[in-house]
């Protein structure tokens, strides 16, 4: 497992994607076939189910080290990762065990049916034969995510570099139906188990943020204006009775949205359409936060399907009955699209509405109103534009609503995970409610590493608790947070829910006296 352990070390230390790809290519060039297949499986969510409960591992570790539980937990909060905490706390190994990755994985699969006593013997033996980094890998193989910043995309790019095969095809291959014991590495890469011709997507056409006056865009009649939606941009492909859904991140997400697949399957023609995957309930678009509950699930339960139903707002058509339409004008494509939806009807897919306007100056009010129904703003598309490859300036513009902002005070801080596990990076913010504070948002993004380091030091000095992962801090640090929308909410103690809150800046110039009140926050809903 030394090679695999070295690979993980090489990948986790760097934040440069190219260096990660280099390390992966090196591994693929040197490791045995079975190990390569397991690596791909582990990094694409095809891992075997957990054979040993983490609580047992914790118990055995405490038994070996004779540490009290509170000290174990304190160590865990400092490290931020259970597998690593165990690896660091355990006494140094007395033996050396060297086995390839796939043998370890096979053994762990077999371990699942064993008794707890047998499991203990096996795990303790492994711990006593591996040095700290390998021990960490072993613990991670049992359960838990590697969190080393290798996305499916990075993996695919490494495989593409290795083999020269089209990355989209590789993406389909690794997501397809296979197990490390049912295929060879070459067959997997060559896509023997899939039919790529059917699933092949087109590159998305992307818009730039509007940076000029509307009047500079010329004649109003030359433009098609639609609402902009904050979901997951997706491409739905229906070819020869099969449906594929690709996300803009070039991941195949078909299995995550069974209701879309069911609806599309009923359509008569073959086609490729571009649109937005959104959480839609009772014909209203829900927040992106709601949609998030549906993402990256292994199983989509019935309960979840009812709780967060998904819809697709259709923007464009790229292919119809094997004919590539991308070189045609937006206007023409729209006609084809409307025709397609006249011939096939469904509640789940909806054509993106074209906004009727005569004058540029009508649009600003429409844009600002967009927030009230969870739209992000407007999209402006030139009627003569072709469907470009990627981002190209001039034909498509996004014009977002300005974010709302409030001033809040930090009341709790928590350590992050992965790269951020050593710093306090996750904050809870509050506004004033008469003489006390009420939580309004959690935010994780928007600060520089330098600011996070400074805040972490401050938290260390000013925390009220001395133990545990969450630190209550004195209400001193003031931040301006920005968010896309706000609504009344019964689930939140404050009575309001903010949409996509993030830190706009650290207001060192303000004190807690200057922060917003819950009344001033609620007033934003009325406006």
């Amino acid at each position: 497992m030394k090679d695999f352990s070295n690979l993980i070390s090489a990948i986790e230390i760097t934040n440069k994607t190219n260096a990660k790809i280099e390390a992966l290519v090196h591994y693929f060039n040197t490791a045995p076939d079975k190990d390569k297949l397991w690596l791909i499986a582990l990094f694409t969510g095809k891992r075997p189910s957990r054979p040993v409960k983490s609580n047992l591992m914790k118990e055995w570790c405490m038994e070996l080290t004779k540490l009290p539980e509170w000290l174990f937990l304190e160590s865990y909060s400092a490290v931020g990762d259970l597998g690593e905490t165990l690896a660091l706390l355990l006494p140094n190994p007395k033996n050396t065990i060297e086995k390839p990755l796939h043998i370890w994985v096979d053994e762990l699969i077999n371990l699942k049916q064993k008794t707890d006593e047998e499991k203990k013997v096996y795990v303790l033996q492994a711990w006593n034969g591996l040095e700290a980094q390998e021990r960490l890998i072993f613990n991670k193989l049992i359960g838990g995510s590697f969190r080393i910043g290798v996305s499916k995309k990075t993996l695919v790019n490494a495989l593409a570099k290795l083999s020269g095969i089209d990355p989209n095809q590789l993406m389909h291959s690794i997501i397809g139906n296979w197990t490390p014991n049912s295929i060879t590495f070459d067959d997997l890469l060559n896509g023997e188990h899939i039919n790529y011709d059917k699933s092949k997507p087109y590159p998305f056409c992307l818009a730039y943020a509007l940076e000029k006056d509307l009047t500079d865009l010329g004649n109003e009649n030359d433009w098609q204006v639609e609402y902009k939606w904050d979901g997951i941009r997706g491409q739905i492909i229906k070819r020869k009775e099969e449906v594929f859904i690709w996300s803009r991140g070039e991941e195949l997400v078909t299995q995550q949205f069974p209701e879309l697949v069911a609806a599309i399957s009923k359509f008569h023609n073959d086609f490729v359409i571009d649109g937005e995957i959104l959480a839609v309930k009772d014909s209203a678009v829900l927040l992106f936060n709601d949609l998030q509950k549906r993402l990256n699930r292994k199983n989509v339960t019935k309960k979840l399907l009812e709780e967060v139903p998904v819809g697709f707002y259709v923007y464009d058509i790229l292919e119809l009955n094997d004919e590539d339409f991308r070189a045609q004008s937006m206007e023409n494509r729209r006609v084809k699209l409307e025709q397609l939806f006249k011939e096939n009807t469904t509640d789940i897919l909806k054509l993106s509405e074209m906004i009727d306007f005569k004058n540029w100056n009508e649009l600003d009010a429409l844009r600002n109103d967009a927030r009230s129904f969870n739209s992000e703003g407007l999209m402006l598309k030139r009627k003569t534009s072709i469907y470009h490859v990627g981002r190209k300036k001039g034909d498509w513009w996004k014009w977002k609503v300005d974010p709302l902002t409030i001033d809040v005070v930090m009341i709790y801080a928590q350590k992050g995970s992965g790269r951020r596990s050593s710093k306090y990076t996750d904050y809870t913010f509050a506004v004033k409610n008469q003489d006390h504070f009420v939580t309004v948002a959690k935010a994780y993004s928007g600060l520089t590493d330098k600011e996070i380091t400074e805040i972490s030091k401050w938290v260390n000095k000013n925390a009220i608790e001395k133990f545990g992962p969450v630190r209550t801090v004195k209400p001193v640090l003031v931040f301006e947070i920005a968010f896309e929308g706000i609504a009344y909410s019964k689930r939140h103690k404050s009575g309001v829910a903010l949409r996509f809150p993030r830190i706009k800046r650290w207001r060192k110039d303000k004190t807690v006296k200057d922060i917003d009140t819950i009344e001033s926050v609620k007033a934003l809903i009325e406006n």
Partner: protein
């Protein structure tokens, strides 16, 4: 009668009328070692261990009033016997033993129990009360031996050379830099930043042997440095100088690098857990060896370490001090140099 008291200015010896590593200017300061959070500017008189003298003068000014003693060489100050014992932290680092009418207090300063190749090894001292640091006071911290570190660092340099890369180590200019120099001695030519170079010169001039290195200035010639070794203070991460180094592979040397999250946070190419502070076992051994009736735990994990000591039957108290930020330690010398 009480021998010490904890004041706003620092730890005060009542009968001796002097302070230990005070953080505000006082008349008489007894100094454990040369890091800037322990040896601060502005005291009227300094007392330190012999090997620290050149360092203090270099950092705080040539004309400070200063005297020094060897290890195990007691001095009587107002009836209190003061004596330095090796702390194994950096060159010249000392634990300070105070003895008055048969009652003994030891202030550890910063210490490391594992021997390295450059500082005088730590020596436990029996006492009634022990004031200990706790920077790495969690059982997750377990250091490798100096021989293992030597192997690790040297392998990394050799591997970089194979890949045509220049090895850049980041470490505090006092302590870490000299330790790295020793760990990679004889591997290849080493270039060091002026903060390190000047300190090395001051230390060498006082008769202590430090491996050879060359000063690197901002107008260095790339071809001279290519594939060699460079040591810089941590503050230079992201600086123009480091960006100019051809094909650099950068490594941070610090105990904090023991944790993955810390290694990854900095976005460097490698992190080596080379620490000048004691690990968990080191702290426990040191405390036990003093046989102290009462332990005061300062800078670091004081809450955790004192709770644990109490649980294993050693009376311990948390003590809030202003020690412990070695990052300041590396910035201040440059500031004071311009004063």
């Amino acid at each position: 009668m009480k021998l010490i008291k904890f004041t706003k200015k620092g730890i005060y010896c009542i009968p001796g009328k002097f302070y230990l590593d005070p953080w505000y200017p006082v008349k008489y300061a007894v100094i454990s070692h040369g890091h800037a959070d322990h040896a601060r500017w502005g005291n009227q008189h300094y007392l330190c261990q012999n090997d620290s003298k050149a360092i203090l003068k270099h950092r705080l000014g040539k004309d400070i009033s200063i005297e020094s003693l060897g290890y195990n060489q007691p001095k009587n100050i107002n009836g209190v016997q003061v004596c330095f014992f090796p702390a194994g932290h950096v060159i010249g680092s000392a634990q300070i033993k105070l003895e008055y009418k048969g009652f003994v207090v030891v202030f550890s300063g910063d210490y490391k129990t594992q021997p390295d190749f450059i500082s005088t090894p730590f020596e436990p001292v029996k006492c009634h009360e022990f004031i200990t640091e706790s920077t790495f006071g969690l059982p997750i911290y377990k250091w490798k031996t100096e021989q293992e570190l030597q192997q690790e660092l040297q392998n990394w340099v050799l591997q970089n050379q194979q890949n045509n890369r220049t090895s850049v180590f980041l470490g505090y200019s006092l302590g870490k830099a000299q330790r790295i120099l020793k760990l990679i001695e004889h591997v290849d030519d080493v270039f060091v930043h002026s903060a390190i170079h000047n300190l090395n010169t001051a230390i060498s001039n006082s008769g202590i042997d430090i491996p050879k290195s060359t000063l690197i200035t901002s107008d260095f010639k790339k071809e001279n440095v290519q594939r060699k070794i460079v040591i810089l203070p941590p503050a230079l991460l992201g600086s123009k100088l480091i960006k100019k180094i051809p094909n650099a592979a950068t490594a941070i040397c610090s105990g904090w690098m023991h944790i993955r999250g810390n290694r990854r946070w900095k976005g460097v190419d490698a992190g080596f857990a080379v620490s000048d502070h004691a690990d968990w076992e080191g702290l426990l051994q040191a405390v036990k060896a003093t046989e102290a009736e009462k332990v005061y735990v300062t800078h670091g994990s004081q809450a955790v370490f004192s709770k644990y000591l109490n649980e294993i039957g050693i009376e311990a108290h948390e003590l809030k001090t202003e020690f412990g930020d070695e990052e300041i330690a590396d910035k201040e010398p440059q500031k004071s140099a311009t004063l």
